[in-house]
Every structure is written in C-alpha cells, then in structure tokens.
C-alpha cells in the first residue's frame, strides 16, 4: 500500500472523533517517522483545514518532526529532579557514547523523579542510571 492510501485509512479510522488532529498526527508520526509537508497537505484536505493550520499544529508540538530520523533514540531526562540527582555529570559521556549513531534526546520529566537519573528507550524505562549503565544503554540501543 502506498503512503497516500495508508493516510486515507488513518484518517478514516479517526473519523468518529471530535477534534481528531492530534490523534491523527500521533499515528502518522508513528507510522512514517515524521509528519512531512505532503502528509500535512493530505491531512488538511481531509479535515477541511488550511495547510497553514495543520503546519501550525505540527510545528507547535515537540513530538512531531518534519523529517524522519532512522537512528535509535534514547530519551534522557534533564529536568530539575534528575539534575538534583546528578544527570548533568553523565551528559558528556552519554554524548560521546551516542556519537552520530544514536539520537540522544533530552526530555523534561518521565515522572520517576525519586529514582533518577532516568531514561526511556521506546516504551522501556530505566532508572537509577550511573555513567556505566547509561553508556551501556546507549550502546545497546
């Protein structure tokens, strides 16, 4: 099935919802790894919105990206509670381990604030990280 036909299916699956744009964008992002201009145009047409409106929404939220990044992604929490537990000292080693192969993405709170530093890979969560375990996590990603 080509992309455009798949998008039609995704739109149809959310037809019953009120205010369906965010659920739609989540599904498009998950399916194609990004929400690009082509997808924006097709969604705008399907929902009777302007392309500018859809682009405005896509560009507002951190979870939606204009281009796909095929690299594995490790999300590292760098919010205050993890800072208090020493995450900043791990960042240089994490960046070195990630290099260009792994996307090291900062997040602001995974809700595990009493056992930081914390990271997330896919839907797997990791707590009580030290330099060794974080570097290992990135190398395995």
């Amino acid at each position: 099935m080509n992309r455009s036909a798949r998008l039609v299916e995704i739109v149809a699956a959310h037809a019953g919802r009120e205010g369906p744009l965010l659920p739609l964008l989540h599904e498009v992002q998950a399916e194609f790894g990004c929400v690009d201009g082509e997808a924006e145009a097709q969604l705008a047409h399907a929902l009777n919105l302007s392309r500018a409106e859809v682009h405005g929404v896509v560009s507002f939220y951190h979870d939606f990206t204009a281009t796909a990044d095929p690299r594995p992604c490790v999300q590292l929490c760098r919010a205050e509670a993890c800072q208090a537990r020493g995450v900043e000292a791990l960042v240089p080693a994490a960046q070195a381990a990630a290099g260009g192969r792994v996307k090291l993405h900062d997040v602001y709170c995974l809700g595990l604030c009493s056992v930081g530093p914390n990271a997330r890979v896919g839907d797997q969560l990791y707590a009580r990280l030290d330099q060794g375990s974080l570097v290992e996590l990135i190398e395995r990603a």
Binding site: D63, E80, A81, Q83, Y108, G111
Partner: protein, 503 residues
C-alpha cells in the same frame, strides 16, 4: 502456592520489577502485580504475607522465600513511611491490582458513584463544597464552586476534562494514581458528570506516560457499563509542557496549537468546543469518590490546615534518601518532610535548597523549612505548592544555573501567545548569563543602532540585577498564564537567597 505481590507501576518497572517477578515465577510462586506503595527507594518492593523486601533483584528470590533476606523491612503497612500517612486518595496504593474490578469493588469502589446517583446533582455539589476540596493541580480553586458554575451554565453539551498533563519535574502522583488506581479516577469523573450533566469526558495524558495511557484505556473499557451513559476518551499530549495549563489543554484536545486562551470566558462557561466544561486535575477528581461516600465530605473537611482542607499527596523527589508519595493532611512542614520522613539527602550531603511546586515553584532556603504546607502560607512566602512536588538539592547545586534553567525552560516551552513570556524569558536568559558572566557590556541587541533607548554606557551588576527583577515583575503580572507568570518564582528566590551563586 506462595503468592508474592510486586508492583507494575512504571517506576517499579524502571527499577527492574519485571525481572524480579519473572524470577519468582521461575521459583514456582504466583505473582500478583499490584499498584505501588509509593516507597520508591525500596522498589522493586516484594510483598510476601504482608512483609516487604526491597529493593529486590532476581538474585534475592531464594533468600526472600526462605526468610533469610537482609532486605526485609517488616510489615509494609507498619513501616513508618506508610504508618505516618493519612491515605485517602492513595488508600489502595500497594493493596489492589490496578485493573481488577473485583479488587476495586471489594475496597469500596463505586460506592461514591452509586450514592451520588441516589442523592442527585444538587446534593453532590453541596457535599463537594462542604468537603472544602480545592483543585489539586496547583491553583487551589474550590472544586464545588467550579462544578456549580458548570451545572448552572447553559449549554447543549457539557464536558468533564481531566488534566493529566503532569509535566512538572518532581511530580508523579498523577501517574501513580492513573497506573495504580485508574478506576478511582474514572469513578470521580463519572460523579462529576452526574453532578453537572455531562455526557462525555476526556483524560488528557502526556505522551511521556505510555504505561498510564495503556492502563487508562484498559480500565475505561472494563468500566464502560458501570459509568454508562457517560463515556471517557483518553487523549495523548504531544510533548508541550504548556498544555498542562487548562485553556491550552482544551485547545490541544480540539486539535489546535496548545496556545493559552485569555480568560474570561472561563472554561466553566465556554470550555471544550465552546461548551461548559469542568476541568480538574487527576488528584482532584480521584478525591471525589471518597468525598461522596457516606460521611466522606465531613471527614475530608475535618483534615487540613486553615483554608487548605483534606489531604495532599506530596511527592518527595530529587536528592532525597526516602523518596516517594506521602499523602498527609495539609500543614506539615518541609523540615518534617525532608528530614523525618525523607531521611535527608540521598547523597548524604547537607540540603541546600528545596523546590516546591515544579519548575515554576520557588526555591526554598533551609531557613524557611518551618513553613506549613498550605496554599495561603506558601503564597505569603512568595512560593507555591503547585502540584505538591518537593525536589531536594544538596550543597553541590548551583542556584544561578538553576535560575537560568528556569528562564530557558520558559523560553523553550512558551506557547508564544503573550509577549512577557515569549520575549521576557529569552531576555531573562541573556540577563542571567550577563550577571553570571560578570560582563557589564550590553548585549548584541542593545548595541544595535535602532535601540535608541538602550543605555550607552555599560551597566553595573547592580543595574543588571535591578533589570532582572523588573523583568520578573513584568512577567509575573503581564503573562496570560502560570508559565510566564510563575517563572519569576524560581528565578527571584534563587537570586534572593543565594546571590553568591550568580557570579
């Protein structure tokens, strides 16, 4: 068959609970996956005949089963961390399987909803007002008044929206409640719907909480018949911190940019899709079933301090030895929370500062640790309770860096609708950099030829600090919502109490 109980809360999973559970299954035990007791330093916590063992690793299984484990903590319910609490909202924490309807019903579940249906809408709202429950999201607005406003507002349709966009660092009580006791939240929403005449509810959960989303979706399916004709849908956020602000949250559900709306109109009059909408935090709605149970409102009102009624699930986080959720009546001091209950810092170093209320909360100096946990007392001390997150920092914290982080966070997360927040936060970062860097020359923008009013001579450090204070004043009073309005709290409190950290 030996039955052991291990939490399947996201935090327990992050600490390795699945591997421990698998090891017990391998040893021939039956493993029940329950909610978390909220003693996070002990996770994964294993419960065997009421006794606790933690933090457990797969290698501990044999010793736990034959009674020789050095990780024994005794009867969990008698542990000082639990015994000192007054758990109403978290009454089931650690005790029930989150998605088991029988467990929920056996522990008083749905009693509030059935009673609410029998006493009718006006009586529900009267009991809500009587309980003194105030919004647990941070603003502390009386829930009964909000519900009354929606009930009497004219509208074709009405909505119940649960704000589960728990973005504040140092807070996790919403997540624990949604993962550990999702039916209680659903029951609270169903009661609210009955009180105001709403047919549809939404739970807006942040995308950083995949486990909570899965549990809620499963729980809503299981409870559909019980709450019918009311229906609930989970909506997933998309990484925008500002969507925790109620009006931008509503825009987000509608499929728009998460920009803040000017008030009035209040959401209670024109909220989701322009209709009257109750929007409450997870913990506010989760407190409702208890309040609506027989005698619950009076009991709730009997707890608390001043005008802050009932209990508050406080979240002990950051550099603290015994972190977790501690539900207690209002009025407890930070000193008790951090030293008596939390056991001081995890690093063993002295406490330097505590941030209460998330990224927008003030940094509180140890001199003020006698402050009672109360909306008004905190407001009087230029601080806020917010969602009840308490993040502890030891003496290695650089308060100037944290002040800069607060401004930078505001700049990144600002929705862009109002100028004080959008521009002020960026100028704030530049100013703090200048103060900390010791440079007195104006920035690149100020030296542009068109900046006629900018000072021609370099500013002194004192003048820069005065400018920062002035900027904070503008942000505080000129911003549309709490993001720009409260960012000055961490910045100014850090500047006031730890000026030596600003270079």
């Amino acid at each position: 068959m030996t039955v052991v109980r291990i939490s399947d809360d996201a935090l327990a999973l992050a600490c390795g609970a699945d591997a421990v559970a698998a090891a017990f299954v391998g040893a021939g035990c039956t493993v029940e996956r329950v909610s978390s007791w909220g003693m996070h330093w002990l996770e994964p916590l294993v419960e065997l005949d009421g006794k606790g063992f933690g933090p457990a690793v797969p290698g501990d299984v044999a010793a736990i089963l034959n009674g020789t484990s050095a990780k024994a903590i005794g009867i969990i319910a008698d542990h000082p961390f639990i015994a000192r609490q007054q758990r109403l909202t978290f009454a089931r924490a650690g005790k029930t399987r989150p998605l088991d309807l029988a467990d929920y019903a056996a522990t008083g579940g749905w009693a509030g909803l059935y009673r609410a249906r029998s006493i009718g809408a006006p009586a529900i709202i009267a009991e809500m007002s009587q309980s003194g429950l105030r919004g647990r999201g941070g603003a502390g607005f009386p829930a009964g008044i909000k519900w009354q406003t929606v009930a009497s507002a004219p509208g074709d349709r009405k909505f119940i929206v649960c704000n589960a966009d728990e973005g504040d660092s140092g807070t996790f009580a919403d997540r624990m409640l949604m993962e550990g006791d999702p039916f209680q939240l659903i029951e609270g929403m169903a009661i609210a719907a009955h009180a105001v005449g709403a047919g549809q509810g939404y739970i807006y959960v942040r995308s950083e909480y995949p486990h909570a989303i899965a549990k809620l979706n499963a729980a809503i399916t299981l409870a559909a018949e019980i709450i019918a004709p009311f229906t609930i849908e989970v909506r997933v956020g998309a990484g925008a911190y500002v969507c925790g602000e109620e009006t931008s949250l509503l825009n987000s559900i509608e499929g728009k940019r998460g920009e803040v709306r000017a008030k009035p109109p209040l959401p209670a009059h024109q909220g989701l899709f322009g209709q009257p909408t109750v929007i409450n935090n997870v913990l506010t709605l989760a407190a409702v079933p208890h309040i609506l149970s027989e005698g619950g409102a009076v009991l709730y009102d009997s707890h608390g301090f001043g005008r802050s009624k009932g209990t508050k699930p406080i979240q002990l986080a950051g550099n603290i030895r015994h972190g977790g959720v501690f539900e207690t009546p209002f009025g407890i001091t930070l000193h008790d929370l951090i030293y008596d209950i939390g056991g001081g810092t995890a690093s063993g170093r002295p406490v330097k500062a505590v941030q209460v209320g998330g990224p927008l909360g003030a940094y509180i100096h140890p001199d003020r640790f006698d402050l009672p946990f109360d909306y008004e007392a905190y407001a009087g001390a230029d601080a806020l309770i917010g969602h009840g997150g308490v993040v502890v920092f030891d003496d290695t914290a650089d308060m100037g860096k944290l002040a800069r982080f607060a401004m930078e966070f505001c700049a990144v997360e600002s929705c862009g609708k109002c100028t004080p927040c959008r521009i002020g936060s960026t100028r704030g970062v530049e100013l703090i950099d200048r103060i900390r860097g010791g440079a007195t020359a104006g920035g690149a923008v100020e030296s542009l030829p068109q900046m006629h009013n900018a000072a021609k001579t370099p500013r002194s450090r004192e003048a820069d600090i005065e400018l920062l204070e002035d900027l904070c004043e503008t942000m505080k009073f000129g911003s549309l919502c709490a993001l720009g309005g409260f960012t000055p709290y961490p910045v100014l409190s850090a500047l006031r109490h730890w000026p030596e950290d600003f270079g």
